[in-house]
């Protein structure tokens, strides 16, 4: 008997919540970045689980898109973090708060 859909969705919700908390709570930009990846993958898990349960390929296709965007985002994001570190010698989000009024 296959694993019920609820388990997948529950696991996905837990991972997503960990990701959100990581983004909000941690101060290291690289950790925040990883937490974002966690959220994206939680969503991917939901898509795949629902696709299988509904017998549709749409969800699986969207996962590919998400992974592509995530890869691009990782490249750009890491480049930004690298540039910031070169300038400020820090990866602490609290100290990178000059982009305001």
């Amino acid at each position: 008997m296959p694993t019920p859909l609820g388990w997948y969705l529950g696991l996905s919700a837990v991972i997503f919540t960990i990701g959100v908390l990581g983004v909000l709570v941690r101060r290291n930009v690289i950790i925040i970045f990883m937490a974002i990846e966690l959220m994206l993958n939680a969503v991917n898990l939901t898509f795949v689980a629902l696709a299988r349960s509904l017998g549709s390929l749409d969800g699986q296709v969207i996962v590919f898109f998400v992974m592509t965007v995530a890869a691009a985002e990782a490249a750009v994001g890491l480049a930004i973090i690298l540039a910031m570190f070169r300038n400020r010698e820090t990866t602490n989000a609290d100290e990178l708060a000059t982009l305001k009024w």
Binding site: A93, A97, K100
Partner: protein, 621 residues
């Protein structure tokens, strides 16, 4: 009867072409400027003569018309650039181009060697163009273009030697005082357009106005008075005459052409052109006549005590213009235009003669340092003497006829005002006195100039004396011109009684004799009289301190207002409002600004809250 032609546009175009030449090539070709400057005016004179001959061949009351192009179309209103040539225009254009040509020739000698020679002729030709537009215009809007054009040229030429601050100031004064008059003129035009427009006549053509006088009758008085305000500015009448004496800062040919012969008569021409309208408002005519007579007397009195030769002539011009307005006011339009013509001859001659004297004396303008020039400058003296006799009204010279007609009109014309006629007679005596005084002080007695100046004293060259001689001839025979008959289209009513002529002649001789006695026979007496009349004499010499009065009443309050604006209103009110608005926005936004911390995690939290709210909304719905 109106005959269409394309001839008239050339009258205006020829001097305009001269302007273009002087502006673009004049600096490199001074020799050509000497020919082309007077040449284009002579050519325009030729065209005017041709047009006048064609007009003469037509029946009386006819006119030539030249529609150049459609100028303004604004809804139902429309105005053309179109010229109209009737008897009055013919007289005016002949004077403008004829006398103008002589003055152009004279200027070639007078301005010889001046650094701004080409610029001078550019302005002079431009003035001629504008003046011709003014007198040829067939609608009041185009007339206004010429009106402003001559005002501009007047400003440019008064301040021609702009390196001297007082010359620039005189130009500015002329311009500003004229603006006051022009505002009145414009308001008058608006009132005409408005009144005609409400009756469906959207035009400012002079003929349209003359055809719809019944429509204009209810507003004739305000219209006439407003237009007259314009005339007082342009033609230097009380209360706006103050710019003309200062305008003598310009080169002397300018004084002769613009500030004696042509431009200052624009107001007279305008009222003569609209005499049918003025006839509807006798009260306005009375105002015109009263202002004219008052100006004639006032300026005549001032002229008796001036020592600057050009200022005497300037006040004399103001006074003579007063005569013309008196003539207009007593509804003897023909006589007023007649005096305009003869005045153009003898006053241009007086100015050019004075210029010749100033030229010979190396720039000296003070009558007290002249004297005895009779033998040293014989041609100038002879022509000046003719002009003096003409302006004094000695028969049979031109001034006698025109002045007599105006004065007799004041007693027995269509709109008689005998009191003003008496004032006019007094001014006739005054005119003879101050003109004689000028002549005797400059040309009789011993020379009071310095040795140095006397050594360089010389008669002016032929290019300057020839125009003097021609103008002198005109001043002599000008009285025979049938101007009033031409202008009014009626038989010449030379019905001035012999007794009246005798009175006027006696006044002329009396004034001249008094001047001779006071300034040649007993030169010590004027000083004694001046001492006796201590306060009054000073007042007259200081021109009744009108400039000071205007300064206190108008100029200084305006400056004070400007100061208040500059130091209080501008920084406090205007800047205060602008800075205050910015400060208000800054202060109120300070609170909300705190929400932007710059910390990305705070933003992320707000995303989350927003997302939760949205999700909550859709779930709970």
């Amino acid at each position: 009867m109106v005959v269409e032609t394309t001839l008239l546009r050339w009258i205006v175009a020829l001097p305009a072409l001269g302007v273009l030449f002087h502006v673009f090539l004049g600096r490199r070709a001074t020799g050509a400027v000497k020919i082309i400057g007077p040449g284009v005016v002579a050519a325009a004179f030729g065209v005017v003569v041709a047009a006048a001959l064609r007009l003469h061949a037509l029946p009386e009351g006819a006119a030539l018309h030249d529609r150049v192009y459609e100028w303004i179309v604004a809804g139902p209103f429309h105005a053309d650039v179109a010229f109209r040539f009737d008897a009055l225009t013919a007289v005016m254009t002949l004077v403008v181009t004829g006398v103008g040509f002589l003055i152009h020739v004279y200027s070639v000698g007078y301005m010889h060697g001046d650094a701004g020679f080409a610029r001078f002729f550019a302005y002079l030709n431009l003035f001629t163009t504008a003046m011709l537009i003014l007198v040829l215009a067939d609608n009041l809007l185009l007339l206004f273009v010429g009106w402003e054009g001559v005002g501009l040229c007047s400003y440019l030429l008064i301040g021609f030697w702009y390196e001297k601050p007082e010359n620039a100031a005189a130009g500015k004064k002329a311009f500003l005082v004229n603006r006051i008059g022009d505002a009145g003129f414009l308001l008058g035009l608006f009132l005409i357009v408005w009144t005609l427009g409400t009756h469906g006549i959207w035009s400012l053509d002079v003929t349209a106005i003359e055809e719809h006088l019944n429509v204009l009758a209810p507003v004739a008085l305000p219209v006439c008075l407003l237009l007259f305000v314009g005339a007082t500015g342009k033609s230097a009448q009380i209360p706006l005459y103050v710019w003309l004496p200062d305008a003598m800062a310009g080169p002397t040919p300018v004084s002769a052409l613009i500030h004696a012969a042509t431009m200052v008569t624009a107001g007279v021409y305008m009222i003569a052109r609209l005499h049918a309208l003025y006839a509807l408002a006798p009260a306005a005519l009375t105002v015109v006549a009263t202002i004219g007579a008052a100006t004639a007397l006032f300026a005549g009195v001032i002229a008796t005590a001036q020592t600057d030769i050009k200022r005497v002539l300037a006040y004399s011009t103001v006074s003579q213009l007063g005569y013309m307005f008196l003539g207009l006011g007593v509804a003897t339009t023909g006589a007023a235009v007649f005096h305009l013509v003869t005045h153009a001859f003898f006053k241009a001659l007086l100015f050019l003669g004075a210029g010749s004297v100033i030229h010979g004396l190396g720039g000296e303008q003070d009558l007290r340092r002249m004297g005895g020039l009779r033998t040293r400058m014989p041609i100038t003296f002879a022509t000046m003497a003719v002009a003096t006799l003409a302006i004094a009204g000695v028969p049979p010279l031109s001034g006698f006829f025109s002045k007599d007609e105006i004065l007799w009109g004041a007693f027995a014309g269509a709109h008689p005002l005998p009191t003003l006629g008496v004032i006019g007679l007094v001014v006739a005596g005054l005119t003879a006195y101050y003109s004689g005084r000028l002549l005797f002080l400059a040309f009789f007695g011993d020379c009071r100039a310095s040795e140095e100046t006397q050594h360089h004293l010389h008669e002016s060259p032929l290019v300057m004396t020839a125009p003097l001689v021609v103008l002198a001839l005109l001043a002599v025979v000008g009285g025979a011109l049938p101007v009033p008959a031409l202008v009014t289209g009626e038989a010449h009513e030379a019905a001035t009684p012999l007794a009246f002529m005798t009175v006027a002649t006696l006044l002329a001789f009396g004034g001249l004799a008094l001047a001779y006695w006071l300034h040649v026979v007993r030169p010590d007496v004027p000083g004694l009289i001046a001492a006796r009349l201590d306060g009054f004499y000073d007042l007259v010499r200081d021109k009744f301190r009108i400039d000071e009065l205007y300064d206190a009443l108008v100029v200084r309050p305006l400056f004070a207002l400007a100061d208040v604006s500059a130091w209080q209103i501008d920084p406090r009110l205007i800047d205060g409002a602008v800075n205050g608005a910015a400060a208000f926005v800054g202060a109120t936004s300070g609170v909300w600004r705190r929400a932007q911390t710059g910390n990305v995690q705070h933003y992320a939290l707000s995303f989350l809250v927003g997302a939760l709210v949205l999700v909550g909304y859709y779930v709970s719905r």
